[in-house]
Structures are given as C-alpha cells and as structure tokens.
C-alpha cells in the first residue's frame, strides 16, 4: 500500500514538475542565501583565526610610554598563563622614495610571535637587510635588492644622551612580507610627516642600537586552541591581562626609579662639572687679565724709554749742530779775512801788474827807440856813403841835409833813450828784465798764496758739509729708529686692546655659557621633576586596528545575513503555501477517493508532505552547497581588497545548515500540513464533489460608483480578480517588492558609496593638495612658505592650517579625530565647505562661539548642536568647548575650530603645520611633477598629498561595490522570476477552465493574455511601488550596517537607482510574462468542456 502511495507521489512530482521546481528553487534561494550569508562571517572569522594561529600572532601586547626592559620581560614571563613572549623595538622613520618622503613603521621581527608571511624573496640574514610589506614594492619603484635609507630621529636614551636608533640606516630589501598585525590598510598614526604611516617594514634585532623594547608581545597558553573571536578566547586572555595589570604597577615604579636615579645622578655630575669648569674658566680669565696688565706696563716703559732716547738724541744733535755752526762761523771769519788779504794781495798784484805793464811799456819804448836808433844809424851810414859817393853838390847838399835830419833824429832818439834810462834809474830799476821777472814771480807767489788760502777755506767748508750730512744721517737714523719703536709700541697697544676685547668677549661668553649651563641644569632639574611615571598599555588583539575592523566588518556581514534571508523565507513560505494549497485542492477528488477507500488522514497527507519535503530538502541541499561554497567566497573577496588575509576558508557549518533547513521545512511542510489538515476535515463525499468555486465578491471600489462606473469592463474584472485572490495578491506584492527593494538597495548602496567620494573630495574638500610642513609656522614665516608654494603657477590659492589628531573625552570613544584650525576662518570656505547636509545652501562659518564637528562623529558619539565636549589636543591638554554646528562630511572625523578660540581655549598660540592649496585642473602626471617640484623647492615641506590619491583609493572600494550590486540584482532577479512565474502558473492552472472558456468565446491570444496579465501587471506595479519604499528603507538599513566608523555613506539614493530598480524588475516581469503568453497559447479549449474536478 505504502509503495503505491509512494509511487503516486513520485508520479505526482513528474507530473507537476514545474510546481516542484518552483518550491525547490525558492527554497534553494532562501536556504542558499541564508546559509551563504550566515556562513560568511564565521568563515571569515575562522580564516582569520587559522591565519593568526599559523603565524602565532600575539594575544597580548604590552607597550610602555618609557620603553620596556629585560627586567620587564623577565617579570612578565613569570606570569602564569604566559606561553611565550618576545620584546621588539618599533619606531617610525622617514624613507625617501624618489622625491617623496614616506613614513614607514619599522619593527624588529621575531621568529616566534607575530611571524611574518613571506611573500617574495627571503628573510634578512644580517643587520644590513630588511623586509618590506608587499605593498611597498608594488606601490613604489623599489624592488628586492634595492638599498633604502631609513631616517630615524635620534632618541634620548636613559642617560639623557642623543642616541642613534639604528646601527645601520642603509639597508637592503631582501624580501616582501605581510604582517598579521596589519591586515587592514591602516598602518596607524605617527608624529612624523603628515601623521599617517604609509608602510611597514621589518628589520633584524641586530640592527637596533637601543637596549630597550617598545613592545612586548606575548601568547597565552591554550589560547590558540580557541577561536579568536569567541568569548572563551577573550576570557582566557583577559585572565592573563589582569595578572599583567597587577604586576604593571611595580614594574612601572621600577622603571621610573631607574630613570629618575639615572637622571638625578646625571644632574649631580653635571653640577660638579659645571663648578669645576667655572673655576677653571675664571682662573683662565684672571691669567689673561694679568697678562694684559703686564703688557700695558711694558708698553708704558717702552714709551718712556723712547721719550728719553728722543731727548738724548735731540741734545746730541743740538751740540753737533752748534759745533757745525761754530765751524761755519769760523770759516766765515777766515773767509772774510781771506777776502781782505785777497783784496790786498790782489791790489799788490794789480800794482805789480801795472808796474809790470809800465815797465814792459818802457822796455818796449826802449826797444823801439833802440831799434829806431839803430835804423837811423844805418840810415846815416848809408847816407854818408851816399855823400862820399854823391857827385853833385845838390845831391851832396841833399844828402847832407838828410844826414843832418838823421843826425837830429839820432840825437832825439838818444835823448829819448837817455830819458828812459834816466827814468828807469829814477825808478830804481837797474835790471829791467830781472825786475820784470821778479815782479812776475811776486805776482805768481801772491796768486798761489791766495789759491792755497781759498783751498783751505773750501776744504773747511767741505768738511763742514760732510759733518752736516753726517749729522743729518745720524738724525734720520735715530728718528726712524724712534719711529719704528713708536710703531712697535702702537702695535703692541693695539694688540693689547684686542687682547682686552677678547678677554671681554671671553668673559661674556663664559658668562653666557655658565648661564646656559646653569639653565640647562635647571631644565634638567625641571625635567627630572617632570619625569612621568611610565604608562603601561596592555592591549589585546581587539586594539589592533586591522583585526578589530576585520571582526567588525564580519559582524556587519552577519547582521546583513539577518535581513536578506527573511525576505526569501517569507516568500518561500508563501509560495509553498499557495503551491501546496493548489495541489491539494486540485486533488480533492483523489483525496476524497482515498479517504473513501479507508486511508488514514496521515497516510493521505504523507504524499503531500513527502512532495513538499522532497522539494525542500533537495532545494535546501543544493542551496546549502551553493550558499556555503560561493557566497562567503564572494563576500570575503570583496573584503580581500581591503584586508590582507588569506583566501577564505570555506567550511560546512552544521548549525547554520540545520537552522536554514529547519526554517525551510517549517515554511513548506508547515504550509502543506496546514492545507492538508484543512482539506482532510471534510468527509469524502464533500471532497469528491467539486469544491464550490470561490464566490465572486464585490470589491470596495464598487461602492464608489463614481470611479466604478468609469472603469471599463476588463478593468472591473481585473479589479475584482485582484481582491479575490488575497494570498496571491500578497505574495506577488511581497515578491516584486522584494525584488525591487533588493535592486534599489544594490544601486542605492552603490550611490551612497559612489556619491560619498565626489561629495567629499569635490564639494566638501575643495582643496586639491595638502602640503605638510616640516615645522610649525606662523605669520611672516607662514606667508613666506606660502609665497614660495604659490610661485608654482598651477597653484591658485593657499591656506595655512593646523591639523592635529585629537581625542574627544567620552566613554568608549576610540575614534581618531582630526582637529583643523585654519589660519583664516573667512577663506576656509574656499578650501573646505562647512554646510548642512540636507540644505546645502546653509553654509557655516567658524566663529569663536564653538567648534563645528562632522556629522558621523556626532552620530557615533551622540553629540548634538549646543552640547559641550571635552577635547584633548595632541599635547594632551584638555578643554571644554561648545559644539555650534554639525557639518556634512563623509570620510573621517573632523572638528573645526577658529584659531582665536583655540588660542583662548588652550591658552597657546596656534601654528600652522599644513598648507591647503587649490590648483588648476591637472593630469596625474602633472600632479606628480608639481609634487616633486614642491618637495625639491622648499626645505620647509615634508610631504605633499593630492586629494586625487585618496579619491583613487576610494574608487577601488567602489569597484568592489559593483560586485555587491550584482549579487543583489541576481538574487532579486531570481526572486522575481520564481515568484512571478509561480503566481502566473498558479493563476493559469487555477483558472484554466475560465481561460479555455474565454478562448472558446473567441478571445484572441493577446486578449486572453491581457485578461490574465493585467492583474499581474497591476500587482507588479503595486509591488514595485512598495518595493521602492522598501528599497529606501532596506538601503538605509544596509548602509547603517555596512558603514565603517570612519565613513558616512551619503544616505540619499539617487533617482536613477529607483529607475533602475523599476526597469530591472519590469525586465524580470516581462520575461515571466513572455513565458506566460506562450503557456496561455498552449491552453486547450477542450479543457472548457471538461467537468469541474
């Protein structure tokens, strides 16, 4: 008997395979989605757990503000429950990549805890090597084998000395790794550069020059066996954490004492040293003073000496000059005498010479007279001869006469000669020529005498001249000697003076140095007082940003998994209900017959229960397989873009499978059971009679004759039909509504994330470039830097600002918040828009009444306009400020404050550390060029970041969102297809007689189709409308669940998304309608002749 029933059941499936399939499919969808979405979160968590176990990731991390020592390690290792521990040193460094400076987190690695996942290359073998994160290689031009330079700021060691952190800061990249501590893109924040860490890298311990540890990582015994996200794990770790907190007090005290003693003894040493130095320096100064004084005295002596020498010399010279003068006057006297003598002598000579002249004239006359006498005598003789010879008397007479004249002549001549001789005699001259000679000699002698006298005088004169020259020379020499001596003295004086000045300077310097040293000492003492007690931070995995956000994200997936399957299960229940209901009703006669034959209710209903459970179980199993296999993978893949975790571990989750199947069976079998029970109450006779057709009913609309009368006939039919089948009505609307809602949600999600980027980076952050300054600047210095930046013609406008990480003091607040204090609140709007999200025209201007905070921050921390919040700035100062406005913002959290308010609130003077710039539109290449140029041009700039870079990053996230949209569309489409097809199918088979009849009546195929499709179309339209509203709320729900803490999705769904939702739903509806059209065409009119079953 049983087997006959079973056979009947199987045949039934064959016969009504469409119905079977539709139940199977909807169960598949429901269970698949349920299982897949539900499993995604545990699968992802499991993946993380396996990954963390594999790399032996720490369970607890201890960080101290003042470093950790070997003693600390020793102490911690003695705590019960600590399995292994490892101290590492961690620091932030600047690595130059091209012209850009990147901030890199450097940590020592361990082979035990937090092992690295080697991606490429090998691990370092010596201190000159390092491994970098894989992204470093893909995003920079560096590759394995390159040597990079790490610039780490020196640290002040325990002795208060500057100390280099690394032994070697030029290291070679030998491999790339992924660290389980950084599975998200967040690398933490830093005080360097722009405050954001770009990459991490690991170096061997050997390269660290410092004896301290910054971190101690430890694993808890037995924690590995537990699932890291389970509460058992947390409990176990918390136990050890508590023990750690217990010992931390004493460890911190020890460390404090160590540091205090160290510093204190250091100060004492310094004081001693200072005193010694003081003494020494003072002595030196004294010596120098003494030396100078001595020098002064020496110079005085020298001056005196010179003066004395000068006087002596002058006296001596005066004497010499007197002597010369005397000599000269004597010479003059002699000369005068000589002149006198000379005159006399010359007179004598003149006399002699005149005598001589006279004598010589006389002589001449004598000689002339003698010669004339002689001539006359000859003449006489001649004449006497002539007379003797004279022939004639006349001649005789004449000759006689001539003889007479000559005789007289001779006579006169004789007389003349006699006279001369007489006068000579008278003159005493006897020997004339002798006398002349004598005279001549006398003259000569006189002359000679004169000459010799003159010579004598001249030589005397010469002698005096010589003495004069000699004197002059001597004078010159003496004076020049004196002058040089004087010069020397002068120089010495100058030297002395400069020496004095030097001494003065030295003294001043000394004073300054001493002051400085004393100040330093004072500072050191002050510092000593300020040595803070070290803080210990005992952190677990939940404080690891990557881990925490990953777990949070998986929780989001889990909460998504709570909504979606509900829609599917609801529809599955409805579909099973209608299908099974129809099936049971269709087989009323069979049921009646069986009942009449004596089968029990249970036996009869078994067929239908088997039918339903078979469809459910097959569909469920396929759904589980597909769901478990693909959905977690797809979802995990989406997250894999953001998190560096291994491929998701897919596993069969029995609990989820059971729950999913249970609900599916509850829906289908429950619905079947309900139908069966309802039918089986009737007695066989009733059952075998055709069920009274569902009576027609007047609809509410008919009561409004105004509308009803205006409806045409077919519309009236449709309206009645719509309300006649309420179940179908509900189901279509739920199905279609679900479809539209899912699609709208898909696109809405895309919009929300898509709009977030252009809005954040176009409308809110209007600046295109933020430039990080190396040092804080204000006033002129800032202007200078800005001018320098604006020299680049692409830059349109700049604004300085102070950007710092701050904290809002509130319970459970671990948001990282940026405080922006612009230098000029009035120009801020050109760079950053502060406005109301709903009314974009309502712009806010910063004033001194309060701060403006970003919207997501206000949501997260439940802060409203007018509230007062406590902000802890980056120096750790806390102050209360009022929140004046809440501004539209999508990515990150910001607080905006006016500089005046900041200054008055924190009692300080704010300085800009950042310059925002607006540039012309630029290609990426040009941006790079500009960035490079800016970094090269100015020594003040440490980093340049274009907003386009962040834009790109978020665009990648967007691309991932497309996947979600596709999943949702496919799910929605399947849902719509299944629901609509099922409904149409039900509609047709239930009304087959009616349809055959109207066919017989002569309805064209088209008319038959529209007769039935009109209802579907109207239902679809209603479903779509409801779906649009549902879509909005679904979008909001998903957005709320998916939203990261640092982002706020734009909650405005664009019209296009709604339109697409409508179009795609219609598309699916059309597919179903086309199928309907053909199945309607196939309806045989003979059906109308058959009797009602």
């Amino acid at each position: 008997m049983k087997s006959a029933l079973l056979k009947n059941g199987i045949k039934e499936i064959k016969y009504s395979y469409k119905r079977f399939l539709s139940i199977l499919l909807i169960v598949l969808l429901g269970v698949g989605f349920f299982a897949g979405l539900r499993a995604a979160s545990p699968d992802m968590k499991k993946t993380l757990d396996i990954y963390f176990d594999e790399l032996n990731v720490m369970d607890i991390q201890v960080i101290s503000t003042l470093g950790l020592t070997d003693d600390d390690i020793e102490a911690i290792s003695n705590i019960a429950g600590v399995e292994a521990l490892e101290g590492t040193y961690q620091t932030d460094a600047i690595v130059k990549i091209g012209d850009e400076e990147s901030v890199v987190k450097i940590e020592t690695y361990s082979d035990n805890i937090n092992r690295l996942n080697l991606i490429e290359g090998r691990m370092p073998e010596n201190k000159n090597e390092c491994v970098v994160e894989a992204r470093f290689l893909s995003e920079t031009e560096h590759k394995i084998g390159d040597t990079i330079e790490i610039n780490v700021e020196n640290i002040t060691n325990d002795d208060g000395e500057e100390q280099e952190v690394l032994k070697n800061n030029k290291v070679t990249i030998v491999g790339s790794v992924k660290s389980p501590l950084y599975i998200s893109t967040d690398r933490g924040s830093t005080e360097l550069g722009s405050g954001v860490i770009d990459y991490y890298m690991y170096i061997p311990k050997e390269n660290i020059n410092v004896d301290l540890y910054t971190n101690i990582y430890l694993t808890v015994a037995g924690a590995k066996d537990l699932n890291t996200t389970d509460s058992e794990y947390s409990d176990k770790v918390d136990e050890v954490k508590n023990r750690l907190e217990e010992i931390s007090e004493s460890r911190r005290e020890a460390r404090y004492n160590e540091l205090y003693d160290n510093a204190n003894s250091k100060i004492e040493d310094a004081e001693k040293e200072l005193d010694e130095e003081k003494e020494k320096a003072e002595k030196e100064l004294e010596d120098a003073q003494k030396e100078i004084d001595e020098g002064k005295k020496e110079i005085e002596d020298g001056k005196k000496q010179i003066e004395e020498n000068k006087t002596t010399a002058n006296n001596q010279f005066a004497v010499a000059e007197q002597e010369i003068k005397d000599a000269e006057s004597e010479i003059e006297k002699n000369e005068q005498e000589f002149e006198k003598t000379k005159k006399q002598v010359e007179e004598q000579i003149d006399e002699y010479e005149s005598q001589l002249k006279t004598l010589e004239q006389t002589q001449k006359q004598l000689n002339t007279a003698n010669s004339n006498l002689k001539d006359e005598q000859e003449k006489l003789e001649n004449l006497e001869l002539k007379l003797e010879n004279a022939e004639t008397e006349s001649e005789k007479d004449e000759i006689q006469e001539q003889i007479n004249s000559v005789k007289t002549e001779i006579q006169t001549l004789q007389i003349t000669i006699n006279t001369i001789n007489n006068s000579l005699k008278e003159m005493g001259v006897t020997n004339l020529s002798g006398t002349i000679t004598e005279l001549k000699n006398g003259i000569e002698t006189a002359k000679e005498g004169l000459d010799s006298a003159e010579n004598k005088i001249n030589s005397a004169k010469e002698q005096i001249e010589e003495s004069k020259i000699e004197l002059q020379n001597s004078k010159n020499y003496t004076y020049s000697t004196i002058a040089s001596a004087e010069q020397e003295i002068k120089e010495a004086e100058e030297e002395l003076q400069s020496g004095e000045k030097e001494l003065e300077d030295a003294r001043k310097e000394y004073d300054e140095q001493i002051e400085e040293a004393e100040n330093k000492l004072l500072d050191a003492k002050e510092e000593l007082k300020e040595i803070q007690r070290p803080e210990w931070y005992v952190l677990d995995r939940n404080q690891n940003v990557g881990y925490a956000s990953y777990v949070q994200d998986t929780d989001r997936v889990a909460s998504l998994a709570e909504v979606f399957p509900v829609v599917f299960f609801l529809v599955a229940a409805l579909i099973s209900l209608t299908s099974m209901n129809r099936m049971v009703e269709e087989e009323r006669i069979e049921i009646g017959t069986l009942k009449a034959l004596g089968y029990s209710k249970r036996q009869i209903s078994r067929k239908y229960l088997i039918y339903a459970s078979l469809a459910t179980i097959i569909g469920g199993i396929i759904g589980l397989i597909i769901g478990f296999k693909f959905l977690p993978g797809i979802i995990a893949n989406m997250y894999a873009m953001v998190y560096e975790v291994p491929d998701v571990v897919l596993e069969f989750n029995a609990e989820i499978a059971f729950v999913g199947m249970f609900f599916a069976i509850l829906c289908t079998v429950g619905a079947t059971l309900y139908t069966c029970i309802r039918e089986l109450i009737h007695n066989p006779a009733t059952l075998m009679r055709p069920k009274a057709p569902k009576p027609g009913k007047r609809v509410l609309l008919e009561k409004i004759p105004f509308i009803w009368k205006h409806l045409n006939f077919t519309a009236k039919v449709t309206a009645r039909n719509l309300f006649r089948y309420k179940k179908r009505f509900l189901m279509t609307i739920i199905g279609v509504c679900g479809c539209t809602a899912l699609i709208v949600a898909g696109f809405g999600l895309r919009d929300a994330i898509g709009n977030m980027i252009p809005k954040q980076f176009g409308e809110i952050d209007k600046y295109s470039l933020s430039i990080t300054l190396k040092e804080d600047k204000y006033d002129e210095e800032l202007e200078k830097v800005k001018d320098k930046i604006q020299e680049n013609e692409q830059i349109v406008e700049t604004l300085g600002a102070n950007v710092q990480s701050v904290n809002i003091i509130k319970d459970d607040n671990n948001q990282s918040i940026q405080l922006i204090v612009p230098e000029d609140v009035n120009r801020l709007d050109n760079f950053i828009s502060l406005r109301d999200r709903k009314n974009k025209e309502d712009k806010y201007v910063l004033d001194n009444s309060g701060v403006i905070i970003s919207e997501k921050l206000s949501n997260l921390l439940d802060i409203n306009e007018g509230d007062t919040i406590t902000i802890e700035n980056s120096d750790g100062d806390r102050a209360d400020v009022k929140v004046s406005k809440i501004t539209e913002n999508y990515i990150m959290h910001y607080i905006y404050m006016s500089p005046e308010l900041y200054n008055s609130t924190y009692d300080t003077r704010i300085e800009s550390n950042m310059v925002y710039a607006i540039t012309e539109d630029m290609t990426e290449e040009k941006e790079n060029d500009l960035g490079t140029k800016l970094l090269q041009d100015s020594s003040n700039i440490s980093g340049v970041s274009f907003t386009s870079a962040s834009e790109d990053m978020f665009k990648t996230v967007m691309d991932n969102m497309d996947m979600v949209v596709w999943i949702l569309i496919i799910a929605a489409g399947l849902l719509a297809l299944v629901v609509l097809y099922n409904l149409l199918n039900a509609n047709i088979s239930e009304r087959i007689r009616e349809l055959a009849t109207i066919k017989v009546l002569g309805f064209y195929d088209r008319e038959v189709y529209s007769y039935i499709a009109r209802e579907t179309i109207i239902l679809t339209i209603i479903g779509i409308l409801v779906g649009l509203i549902g879509g909005y709320f679904l979008t909001m729900y998903i957005l709320k669940t998916c939203e990261l803490d640092i982002t706020m999705f734009d909650p405005e769904v664009e019209a296009l998304s709604y339109i697409l939702g409508v179009i795609i739903t219609i598309f699916f509806a059309v597919i179903v309608n086309i199928v309907t059209y053909f199945s309607l065409k196939k309806i045989d009119m003979i059906e109308s002749l058959k009797s009602v079953e």
Binding site: P693, G696, F713, N721, V1000, S1088
Partner: protein, 178 residues
C-alpha cells in the same frame, strides 16, 4: 476548438476546417455562440458581466440587459454565479451565447447538469431562441428522447455521423417527456 482528422467542415459555404488559427478565432468570435454543459461562467463576474464578457468582443452584440430579461433573469442580473441555481446559471450562459448575436449556437449537453424541470426550461429557451431570433442552434446530447424537438437529427457513433434524420414537424419541448 478542435481540428478535423479527415473530411471537411463546411458552414455557410465556408470550409472552416481549412481556416487558420486566427481565422478560426475570428469565426468563433463573430459567428458562434457556445453553451457549455457546466455553464462555464466566470465566477468572479455578475450575471450581466458574464454576458458583457461576450458582447464586448463581437461586432453586433445584443444588449446584455435585454437578453437577460428574455431569459428571465431580470432580477438576478447583479448576482454572482455562485448565488444562482444551475438553471439560472445555464440561462446566463445561454444569454452570454445569444448576446453575441451568433449565426450558430452550439450547445454541449446544456441540460446534462440540470434536473429534469430546469432542463426542460432551458431547452424551451433554446427552441424559442431558435425560432424567434432565427438562429441555428445545435444541441449535442446523449438523451435521444430529445430528438423529436429538433428540425434535424444527426446521429454520431464513434466519431462519425451515420444517420441524418430531418423532422418535418418538430415537437414542442413541453410535449416531450423523458
């Protein structure tokens, strides 16, 4: 509704067995009225609406109200089929068929689901219609007792017509008993 396996169906000099599907629909729409054994009324429509269902698709319909009055359902026009008795339902069905003003009225066992009295009333209605409206009415029935009322009787056996009798003087339905 069905196609021939062999032979021809010639009505009004038209071979409808050679009609295409669309032509057939048109033919049914305009020239044929059909009365079913199980009335085949649309449950969700009132009596008059069921008639209107037919009238709205043909060219020269008769007024649904008049027809319903003629079939004696003046007071039941606004009732749903479930509120009518079998005979009343069949009368609505006939009204629906007649309202199209067809050339040919086909009735498939119109009384098969009715009791004797009601059956008689229906047959009367059909006969009256035939006479008054000059409509060709074909009644298919297993009940040979009805043959005297017909103008012509065609006997079928295993799908083939084997005997055609023409009644010169048809008996009015009131006189027939079965």
């Amino acid at each position: 509704m069905d196609s021939v396996t062999s032979g021809n169906v010639i009505i009004d000099r038209k071979d409808i067995s050679k009609f295409k599907k669309k032509e057939l629909i048109k033919y049914r729409r305009e020239d044929i009225g059909f009365v079913f054994q199980f009335y085949n009324l649309v449950q969700n429509l009132t009596a008059i609406e069921n008639v209107e269902l037919a009238t709205q698709i043909c060219k020269h319909p008769l007024d649904p109200k008049d027809i319903l009055e003629k079939v004696g359902l003046k007071d039941r026009m606004k009732n749903f089929p479930s509120q009518l008795s079998g005979g009343e339902q069949q009368r609505v069905a006939i009204a629906r068929a007649i309202a199209k003003n067809p050339k040919l009225l086909l009735c498939d066992e119109p009384t098969g689901a009715l009791d004797y009295k009601t059956g008689k009333q229906i047959l009367k209605l059909l006969q009256d219609t035939c006479r008054k409206e000059n409509m060709t009415v074909i009644i298919i029935t297993h009940n040979t007792a009805l043959t005297p009322m017909a103008d012509r009787v065609i006997h079928f056996k295993n799908g083939t017509a084997f005997n055609i009798i023409t009644n010169e003087n048809p008996t009015p339905i009131e006189e027939i008993e079965w």
